[in-house]
């Protein structure tokens, strides 16, 4: 499949009183045409900053790497050139629809703005298109809702409006940053269903940023797991749930209670320690302080990101040493 967005060794640093904070620390991610790529990670793992940097919306300083969209280097574009791509070719939706909509304009006005910025159409045509888009995202009575202000709508409806706005120019890539986190489960199901629908109809690629493994399992084709500003594991969705390689991914999967379990677990597995504060770690594998398999080498040298199986990448010393024949991982896992 042809790749649409290629993020290569991206580094975004923030500077604070406490010094340099590498929020994104050498991230390489490729989104292919028409696929849904999941980015999973906890707070501070750098998943949102990666997306914002790609959109050129981040406050951080880009210290290296490149972001290529359809072969164009986004980081070297002028602001004006970037504005032509942002919202037209790449659209983004955010977690909290209330703070991303402007409270003093009607939703119709806000959708029309997106249309008229990128297309040469008149006001009445734009409004027609706005009504059409609202209908597309499943809003009842779109002719009336188009004249409503955001505060009159429920959370689910607002998120639909955000999606309508994002879809206004039929983007080829939609970046969704925790699109359902603020919503109730029954509404979440509606929104995920809608996104799946739109993806099929318009062949839009989706970059789905989330912390919810259920959402990943249900919507994504491929998954990148992030920890401490780095991608630690990448594979297709079946593999990651069936055969997770990185101890962090394994821990995450084991620590969520699910509705499927027939036998009753009495205790949940838990990863020791806390989510690291960005910038607090500098040496070795960032997960080492919380990893139950951590070895001497993990604390001093950073492991490389290697293909362990076709299409399955992992950043862990266990597998690197296993490959070299210096360690028997299977035995280690069993004895633990």
């Amino acid at each position: 499949m042809e790749s649409l967005l290629e993020i290569n060794n991206l580094k975004t640093y923030f500077y604070s009183e406490n010094g340099e904070v590498p929020a994104v620390d050498g991230v390489s991610i490729t989104v292919k045409k028409g696929e849904t790529l999941g980015i999973v990670g906890e707070s501070g793992s750098g998943k949102s900053v990666t997306a914002l940097t790609a959109m050129r919306l981040s406050q951080g300083k880009v210290m290296g790497g490149s972001v290529k969209f359809k072969g164009i280097d986004l980081l070297s574009l002028s602001d004006e050139e970037m504005r032509k791509i942002r919202g037209k070719e790449i659209a983004m939706i955010f977690q909290e629809p209330m703070t991303s909509l402007n409270p003093v304009f009607t939703v119709g006005n806000q959708i029309m703005e997106a249309i008229q910025t990128h297309m040469d159409v008149g006001k009445s045509k734009a409004k027609e298109r706005a009504v059409e888009l609202l209908a597309l995202v499943g809003i009842p009575r779109p002719e009336q809702i188009v004249n409503e202000y955001p505060h009159r709508l429920s959370g689910g409806m607002r998120q639909r409006v955000m999606i309508a706005m994002a879809m206004a120019c039929n983007p080829s890539l939609l970046i969704a940053d925790e699109p359902t986190t603020a919503l109730d489960v029954t509404i979440q199901a509606q929104i995920l269903d809608l996104m799946r629908d739109l993806k099929e109809k318009h062949n839009t690629a989706i970059m789905m940023i989330t912390h919810d493994l259920g959402v990943v399992a249900e919507t994504c084709d491929r998954v990148c797991v992030m920890y401490g500003g780095k991608v630690v594991e990448e594979s297709d969705v079946q593999e990651i749930f069936k055969n997770p390689k990185h101890p962090y991914t394994q821990g995450l999967l084991k620590s969520v209670p699910t509705l499927i379990d027939s036998e009753q677990q009495t205790r949940l597995y838990s990863i020791e320690g806390n989510v690291p504060i960005p910038g607090s770690l500098r040496e070795g594998c960032y997960f080492a302080p919380r990893c139950e398999f951590a070895m001497e080498i993990c604390r001093t040298k950073a492991p490389a990101f290697k293909e362990v199986e076709p299409g399955h990448f992992n950043r862990c010393w266990l597998h690197e040493l296993d490959e070299r024949g210096e360690l028997d991982v299977k035995q280690l896992v069993e004895s633990n």
Binding site: A189, A217, G251, Q265, T266, S270, V275
Partner: protein, 321 residues
């Protein structure tokens, strides 16, 4: 025979909202509209529902943080509603609360030691050296260290703050804890630590929990019995196992089917609910769920279903009449 600890009878909480200065017509938001249930000693009762269904209001009103509009709350047989402050203070020692947001529920200007020892001072239980010993003991119980007592909340991560909140709740050796969404603000890898801590503490101190959450997987894991709320009423309540394996109320069925499962190979029938939850200021007549229910009958639109026992569980639905 299970012994009841908290009994809620015909419990209602309405919030009034005046339309405007001139218009004196007062409208009511029926946050909780007639609850009847019992919490037994030593159990964990999970309370689930979507936002605005009244689950937090229920938790707060049980502890008399917001007195109910109508109804009774019996704690070990004593009615808390309308109790005088002095008596209430005595009973409150035994009931504590853990809040959702570990960032907002701790005073940023107090050290963790002060936060945890405040209940001890208010109830004149310990002071001076004795107090410090108790604080160290509590910190140890929740998995923190005694040197943490001198630090301020901002120096802690979300999970650690929630541990502080739990230590504060434990300070008075309570019997009953209302936990209002205690893990929903936490990262996935931290959630399981806190859930495990809740379970350990229950075993150690023989606690009874009302565990309020919107995350059904967590509720299923931790609870013994589960109550499902919709628009201020309990629609179904029963033993965790049977409720999750064979949900009977159409809302419970839809709610359970909406949860995304972390397994790409499990394909399930999803019952998609149309539209949004109606506003609690103007709830539908009859069964409040009938506007979104796929099995709605004529009777549902006019007559409110009774909350009664069917096959060993409590349910409010005309389908089971």
């Amino acid at each position: 025979m299970k012994q009841s600890l908290v009994e809620i009878k015909n419990f209602k909480k309405y919030y009034s909202s005046k339309r405007s200065f001139l218009n004196r017509n007062v409208s009511y938001v029926k946050a909780v509209d007639g609850l009847n249930f019992t919490i037994y000693k030593g159990e964990t009762l999970g309370l689930v529902g979507e936002s605005g269904c009244g689950k937090s209001t229920t938790g707060r009103a049980i502890l008399q943080l917001q007195p109910p509009t109508e109804g009774e709350v019996l704690y070990e047989g004593e009615n808390l509603v309308g109790m005088n402050t002095k008596d209430l203070r005595r009973v409150r020692k035994e009931m504590q609360m853990v809040f959702q947001d570990p960032y907002a529920s701790l005073d940023p200007r107090m050290t963790v030691g002060e936060i945890i020892s405040e209940p001890l001072e208010i109830h004149k239980i310990a002071s001076g050296k004795e107090k410090n010993i108790r604080v160290d003991e509590l910190l140890d119980t929740v998995g923190l260290s005694s040197y943490h007592a001198k630090r301020y909340p901002h120096e802690f991560s979300g999970g650690q703050r929630q541990r502080v909140g739990i230590a504060r709740a434990l300070a008075l050796n309570p019997k009953f804890i209302v936990a209002d969404e205690p893990v929903s603000a936490l990262d996935v890898s931290i959630q399981s630590q806190i859930v495990n801590l809740f379970q350990d503490l229950q075993e150690r101190f023989d606690l009874t929990y009302l565990f309020i959450a919107h995350d059904l997987s967590v509720v299923k894991h931790i609870s013994d019995r589960v109550a499902v709320m919709y628009l201020g009423r309990i629609v179904e309540m029963g033993d965790k196992k049977t409720l999750f394996s064979q949900p009977m109320h159409p809302y419970t069925q839809a709610l359970l089917s909406a949860v995304p499962l972390p397994n790409p190979n499990v394909k399930k029938e999803r019952i998609m609910l149309r539209g949004d939850v109606p506003s609690p200021s103007n709830p539908p007549n009859g069964c409040t769920f009938h506007t979104r229910c796929s099995q709605c009958m004529e009777i549902c639109k006019t007559v409110q279903p009774e909350f009664k026992e069917v096959d060993g569980r409590m349910i409010a639905c005309h389908l089971y009449n």
